[in-house]
């Protein structure tokens, strides 16, 4: 009762205070700071007061930071970076937690402690984001990571045994049956050596279908397979959906099979790769390919099942069709009926009709075949429309109402244009026409609309992932941040202003996906005390209160520790030089945000243990001495006192 009274008095107080402010105050601040009405409107659209939460969440790749960023929309506040391929001490990633998962990404036994994350993919059910898992590729070493969206932590890294680099991943099929990983730069499979003069014979492209086991939350390598492709530098991919479910589409940029060699007076790659007017869009029936794989019509290469090109031709799994040269995106429209391809060097977007593709396949409307015997569908038989949108079109996303949005790298703009067909009546403008271009700052790469690549796009917000920021922010030295610009796309026609600029000073994002926040159900504490996030189960060996101990076994020492505000138990841990130490630690807190760290000097150890989490670290106590360990996360008023001594007795 008293609380209710007190809070209603407080509410009255705030109301009175707010009433004392007026639009005059707003105007005087605007005048003082030089803000226009448009600026004030943008601020009103994006400002999220303290305590209120964002409507959408962006999962953005971190580029060569090797991480994934989680950002709120419309506030454009960075909520978290998720360590994936790169060690990251705040999360303890690689410094005591996640070491085994990072090691899954070792290549030939060698650690590769960074990644180049490009394309995150949220898991889908019936072609719509379900918010359960996130996949992201690593272009430099052709790896795919699985992130569990219950705790936003990386659970698995798979290294592709065939391709060295990847760019056509991660994309998921409509029910996340498979995670698609298209290779990029052609090499002999498994990075074997071959002279570049044998490029056409020995170098190959590939696309790998990683089977996802949703119950286990892991990619099942034993049910996964790959397809051999010509060495055309396959680029981005996308899975068909609804009417085109069962198919997938890949771009390629080096159908010339140029091999570079500027130092030998050969055309450099940038010229050689762009010589032909067209490259090849790859159209693959993955459901049929799955059946061919299950029928055993595969070769084992590097221990991995691969459908050979000749098998793919014989079984009718793959078709090519010309596409404007050096394309970047191939994006499937919400109903699955159109595939939109942007050739970087052509001012048009080219729209293919899946209906026409099916007819052309059925009628064998080929214009020929490539030198590997892959049938090429006649371009005119499969194209639906070409829309001139501007210079340097790269990627396309979709709105709910029949608009498509394409990023224009050279124009530094986002183009809004109308789809035709069944989408046509959603927009007041004629079908297949450019509606408006909003300048962005600068050199936009990908773009991401709210759920803009699903079967039911939300519209409302679109983010331009700009590569350069040039003059937009205070320059923090010569390495400038990227610029994520938020556009309001909730109105039709030419009304789609930029309403926020967010500098990204922690990586170089490529693609990002935007999901409605209420589709995500993350834990705020782990379900039970003693939870091992690496397995997402209760660890029976996890230390529990009153069971803390230091026990010696032969030449090893097992330590069982608990952490709670504001002490470790035990606080004295004495071992002998040369001991193999296995140290298990459990954060026994149940309060939200009561995270503890465990940092050991000179031993390169730092854990982040969230409430309930348990972790195990192993090291050889090779350096004798006295090492004060402590909690590295400011946890409580007596945080500085949360420490202990590791004493390593000299031999």
């Amino acid at each position: 009762m008293r609380i209710a009274l007190a809070s209603s008095m407080l509410a009255c107080g705030i109301a009175a205070q707010v009433a004392a402010q007026s639009m005059n105050d707003v105007q005087s601040v605007a005048k003082e700071r030089g803000l226009t009405t448009a600026d004030l409107l943008a601020a009103a659209k994006t400002y999220v007061p303290s305590g209120q939460k964002d409507e959408y969440i962006i999962f953005s790749s971190g580029g060569h930071s090797g991480q994934v960023f989680v950002i709120g929309v419309p506030s454009m506040r960075l909520l978290r970076s998720i360590a994936v391929f790169t060690p990251e001490p705040w999360q303890g990633w690689g410094y005591g937690v996640g070491n085994e998962i990072l090691a899954e990404g070792n290549v030939n036994g060698k650690a590769n402690l960074w990644g180049d994350t490009h394309h995150p993919a949220i898991s889908e059910t019936k072609g719509d984001y379900d918010g359960e898992f996130l996949f992201v590729n690593d272009k430099i070493n052709a790896r795919v990571a699985v992130i569990d969206l219950r705790d936003f932590e990386t659970k698995q890294i798979v290294k592709n045994p065939l391709t060295v680099s990847d760019h056509g991943g991660a994309f998921v099929t409509p029910n996340t049956e498979y995670v698609i990983e298209g290779g990029q730069y052609a090499t002999p499979f498994g990075a074997d050596y071959a002279p570049i003069s044998e490029y056409r014979e020995k170098f190959r492209g590939s696309v790998t279908m990683w089977k996802f086991d949703r119950i286990k939350g892991r990619i099942d390598k034993s049910q996964s397979f790959a397809m051999e492709l010509p060495p055309y530098w396959q680029d981005l991919s996308d899975a068909g959906k609804l009417v085109s479910d069962g198919y997938m589409f890949l771009n390629s940029l080096n159908s010339e099979m140029a091999t570079g060699g500027i130092e030998n007076k050969q055309p450099p790659f940038e010229a050689g790769v762009s010589r032909n007017a067209t490259d090849y869009l790859h159209i693959i029936n993955w459901k049929k390919a799955e059946a061919v794989f299950k029928a055993g019509k595969v070769d084992k290469i590097k221990g991995f099942p691969v459908i050979r090109m000749q098998t793919a031709i014989d079984e009718g799994l793959i078709y090519l069709t010309p596409e404007p040269r050096s394309p970047h995106g191939v994006d499937v429209a919400p109903k699955g009926d159109f595939m939109v391809v942007s050739g970087k060097l052509d001012p048009h977007v080219t729209v293919y009709s899946f209906d026409k593709i099916k007819k052309a396949i059925a009628n064998r409307t080929y214009s020929g075949s490539d030198e590997y015997g892959l049938p090429i569908l006649d371009f005119d038989a499969v194209v639906e429309a070409q829309v001139e949108v501007g210079l340097g079109p790269l990627h396309t996303q979709f709105g709910p109402d029949g608009y498509a949005y394409t990023s224009l790298f050279l124009d530094s703009a986002v183009a809004r244009w109308t789809l035709g067909g069944e989408y046509g009546k959603g927009t007041p403008e004629p079908d297949w026409t450019l509606v408006h271009k909003t300048p962005v700052h600068y050199n936009i790469g990908h773009l991401g609309a709210a759920e803009g690549d699903t079967v039911s796009p939300d519209g409302k917000y679109l983010v331009a992932f700009n590569k350069w920021s040039v003059d937009r922010f205070f320059p923090p030295g010569p390495l400038l941040p990227q610029n994520f610009q938020l556009l309001d796309i909730s109105h039709q026609g030419a009304d789609m202003p930029v309403i926020y600029d967010m500098p990204i000073g922690v990586g170089e994002p490529h693609y990002a996906q935007m999901i409605k926040a209420d589709k995500l159900h993350p834990w705020t504490v782990y379900p039970e005390i003693g939870w091992d996030p690496a397995t997402q189960t209760l660890d029976p060996m996890a230390p529990k209160p009153k069971m803390e101990r230091v026990e010696r076994t032969g030449d090893g020492v097992n330590v069982y520790s608990t952490l709670v505000r504001s002490h470790f138990t035990p606080e004295h841990v004495t071992v002998k030089q040369g001991d193999h130490v296995t140290w298990r630690l459990t954060n026994i807190e149940r309060a939200v945000d009561a995270t503890h760290g465990f940092a050991v000097p000179q031993y390169n150890i730092n854990l982040s243990l969230e409430p309930g989490e348990t972790a195990t670290i192993e090291f050889v106590a090779d350096v004798p001495g006295t090492f004060p360990f402590y909690c590295s996360e400011f946890c409580s008023a007596l945080h500085l006192e949360m420490m202990g001594y590791l004493m390593v007795e000299p031999k």
């Binding site: 009762m1 008293r2 609380i3 305590g51 709670v564 505000r565 504001s566 807190e589 149940r590 309060a591 008023a637 007596l638 006192e641």
Partner: protein, 216 residues
Amino acid sequence: MVMSRIIGPRVAPGELSRHGLRYGAPGFLFLLARVLILVSLFLPYWHMALVAPQYPDNLHLTAHVNALSGDVAEIDGLNHYIGMRSLHEAAQIERRVGVYVLILFVVLLEIAAWIHNRWAALLALPAVTFPGVFLLDLHLWMSHFGQNLDPHAPLSSSIDPFVPPILGTGVVGQFKTVATPGIGLMLSAAASLVIIVALFFHRRAYRPLVIAARSD
């Protein structure tokens, strides 16, 4: 003979049918009180909210007759700083036997309804006093815990022994404590009132019979 002295005079069948309300009212009210008490067993008796800035949803403690629930682990964790013992160490016997004791009180009430002399009041007394005893017990445990802090605790020197009020608001450290009765306790208190009213009608109905029996 002894039995009839204990259970008091019986009502003649004719009298009972003529004055059904007079003799039925106390029995009905005893029944109502029994139902209230039995229902209260399933409902919280007491609630405390601990209000502090870093807990936007507050910390909560809820006491049933047989259980203490809510953010017990977190509150224990905070209390260790000031050297307070774990809340689960408090009132262990009371929580273990509370339900059986209340059922016993209900049985006593049942018997009381059949006894037509002053012994009925004695049998009803435990149920009448139960809400008060509950609060008194709670208070005694709170003062015991609040005033016997471990002198070696991290913050023992920065807090004086305290007794948070068992109803109403108090202050402990950065926490405001807000204690409120639960629905169970309210039902139990209502049962006490009902019993007192029942005893009034009981006396009005049966006292004349007792006096008459004595003068025989």
